[in-house]
Amino acid sequence: MKFIQSLAVIAPLALAPTLMPAVVSAQEYSKGLIDKGRYLATASDCVACHTNHAGGKPMAGGLAMASPVGTIVSTNITPSKAFGIGNYSEPEFADAVRKGVRADGANLYPAMPYVSYAVMSDDDIHALYAYFMQGVEPVDEKAPDTSLPFPMNIRASMMGWNMLFRPSGPLADDPKQSAEWNRGRYLAEGAAHCSTCHTPRGALMQEQKSRHLSGGQVGAWYAPDITNDKVHGIGSWSQEDLVTYLKTGRLDHRAQAAGSMAEAISYSFQHLTEADLNAIATYVRSVPSSDPTAVSSMTRFDRGEADNNLSGFRGKGFAAGIKGDHSGAQIFTANCASCHGFNAQGTTDGYYPSLFHNAATAGDNSVNLISAILNGVDRHTQDGHVFMPPFGDEANAVVSLDNVQVASLANYILRDYGNIKLTVNPEDVQVVRDGGPRSNIVTLARIGIAAGAVVLVAVLLLVGLLVRGRRKVADLKST
């Protein structure tokens, strides 16, 4: 630690005195403060994005993440001076976390959830800074750069966006609510950044505050409605249900965490204190839907029942089965039933969930069903490593199902076990296979710029004509 500290002092002096930040972490932070920062970093799930989980070092970045506007690569946030944030002063660190502005003044993309972190208190930022400077191993490796398509590659474009959509600062406690609720809101809206995924985005990729936590698309997955609406949200869950889900990533016969939520459970929620999980649950369970369901009806957690279609094709041969009316059931039996059961009933221990009474098969859209088929499920909790292999294009796909097969399988599952009102077509599967719908913001921006360019060209032409006209006059004069 001392060695690192002395470097921290000497390196800037020796190498680039003029670039030396105003305050460098010369002091040694207390273990208590660093531990507090570590806990907050866990609550903020920094490691999920800032680590390449295929063999990369913690917080060293390099994870490529699909976003609606292109692939964003996470940065090295270890205290490496050459490649990380080792030269950041605490105010610079605070600005990066809460305002999305790097030490060099460039804007971060809001893939970094600074819009949520904006509410974090100065004290917590201080602890986070202490942890990142002295509790994280520096990794002297450069993470690959992010290069988004034009015009998103112009980071300054975020300045206007920030003016519109970035909150101004920490939330004031609501005196009408309990301390637990206020703590829960602080964590859920801040560090845990629930709304980053669970709130739908508008045309400019901003969170639509009017539809807070009512469900949003996240890459290849759909973060469902977690308002307290009894039908579309999780209003049917008890406090204990939600705490259990956050701890384990599953509620038997209701829901399992996959995709980014599996990461959030694996890296973040399961490590939080019982008190904080209860606080988060208390707050989240109080968030109302902007469009509450008037009449109570079946939720996504209790649709469907045990059933099979084996008599339709068994004994006729795979080639016949895959072609006929029962192709979805045939694909299910061949690929899914060995774990989920011939009746899709799952196992009694819940490791293999039933496919009825299951949020993934009975939600308001089919995105998570398609995504689970294509991408599988991968979750590490105290219960062990929950892993469903993928059936997409991956090297470890048990079978690489094509779009027609996935659609056929999904439709069988929806019809027999899930939300019978939904239908999947092969194009829907391709969208998920491609990592989710693309935002048209790039196209819109390009059109906007093109439109601007047309105006500009017109102006230039006009100016040009005028100039040429003058030149002509001049030319005439000179001859």
Partner: protein, 542 residues
Amino acid sequence: MVAKTSADVVIVGTGVVGVVIAEQLLDAGHSVLMIEAGPRVTRAEVVENWRNAPLSVKGDTSVAYPPRPWAPHPTGAEKPEDAYLQLRGPDSYGQTFIRYAGGSTWHWAGTSWRMTPEDMRLNSLYGVGRDWAFDYDTLEPYYVRTENKLGICGPADPAQQWPARRSAPYPMPELPFSPGEVRFTEIAKTLGYNNIPVTQARNSGIPYDGRPACCANNNCVPVCPVAAKYDAETALNRLEKKGATILVDSVVYQVETNAQNKIEAVSYFDQHKQSHRISGKLFVLACNGLENPKLLLMSKNDRNPNGVANSSDQVGRNMMDHPQLTLTVTTKEPFWSGVGPVVNSGIMETSQGDFRSQHAGAYFRYNNFARNRFVTFAALKKGLVGKALDAEIRRMTACTADIVAAHEVLPDANNRLTLSEKTDWLGLPKPSIYYDVGDYTRRSAEVYSLPIAKRIAEAMGAIDVKISPKFNQSKHIMGGTIMGNDAATSVVDADCRAHDHENLFIPGGGAMASTACGNSTITMVALAIKAGDAIVSQMRGA
């Protein structure tokens, strides 16, 4: 797309030996082209082939893998005169293997017993058989790499390990015993035998290498429906993503040598009987212990009149296996096999001892296949119907068991694969195999293995014991391209390189100089990885 007609390394066969070497070479930066005689199918199709098969033929693994006309392999339905394997001699070398992309690990049980130091020195220690070209400690690091590569689970307790001499832990813990195995283990203990967990290429309760945990479907044979058991098919997509080219439905029928007697090319027939030629810098034959010697013999030319790699006249000789005898035991008390994988424990210590100067050792196992599939027809024959039939099937499922004694066999030059005059669909000769398990193994059954097995059956409280009348084959094909340091008496060297051709490698079971009693795949793969290292270093020098 450019026609695929050459690569740095050409590998014939896409089974476990071929894919392990292919990955080593791809990782070292070499181009790899693999040629597979049979089709490439999805796991879904194989699973459903098996589930759609009537109960009466479910024991025949080929129902899940019907052979293509151009790539025949043995099936339960074939008549002896039309059979792909033409069998001769006092014992039947009736093997099961499949010519499909991914090879026969599709339907292996996953059992992965290492050899012991003694198993590799039969001649020095007991004056029988052959010594290996190297000792156990030379092979040991390759066993470790195999265990990590395939994902082999096994116990951490040295008292439960076979053999305990090992330099690294298993990547996963052992699987728990079924109720029947728990009982069997207790009973074996009373006789002084230690029934230990099978080390097996199966994800024991945790995912491994991107494959899921075993969920106990208990149909490892003929296929793991979820790929929790390692099979070579699970590697094919990955190899392609790393740049391998895999040709399927392409039957290699000739290995071509040049003036320096190096391998120049191989030729194959496609499914339309059109011939194609593939050239390369180095060649690996990894198309099974029967197909390798057959191909070498078929490729004879003026420079190699006995066949390629056959100046020793040992190609196709020393065909070995693990001759096994099964005791089907009916007990009074229920045992219940069937929870977990189909082979999950065994008694290995009985494979070792000074008696090996006189007769073979044996490995005993309590098969953990769920019994209902085997007993249903017997229950039906009793004329029962309705609840009485259900009750009888249930009773027999619980109260019957198979105890298998698997023996070692010595290499014998007379146990020989030759080319039959009968030909297959493409007009290529069928393999003809003469086989006699030999006095060494027969004597074991008489004075050693059957007496032990009968004592175990008695201790289990058997009220009826049926013993298989003849030795059955274990489908562990070994010996046909035997390894040795002397080019006059062996086909390949210590790296599985052909003595006669410096750029030809023939790794796998064919190279094994002794069989021991445990299943051969782990040793085949260890030899493949050793050969892969040699190939990588040879290519670097090239």
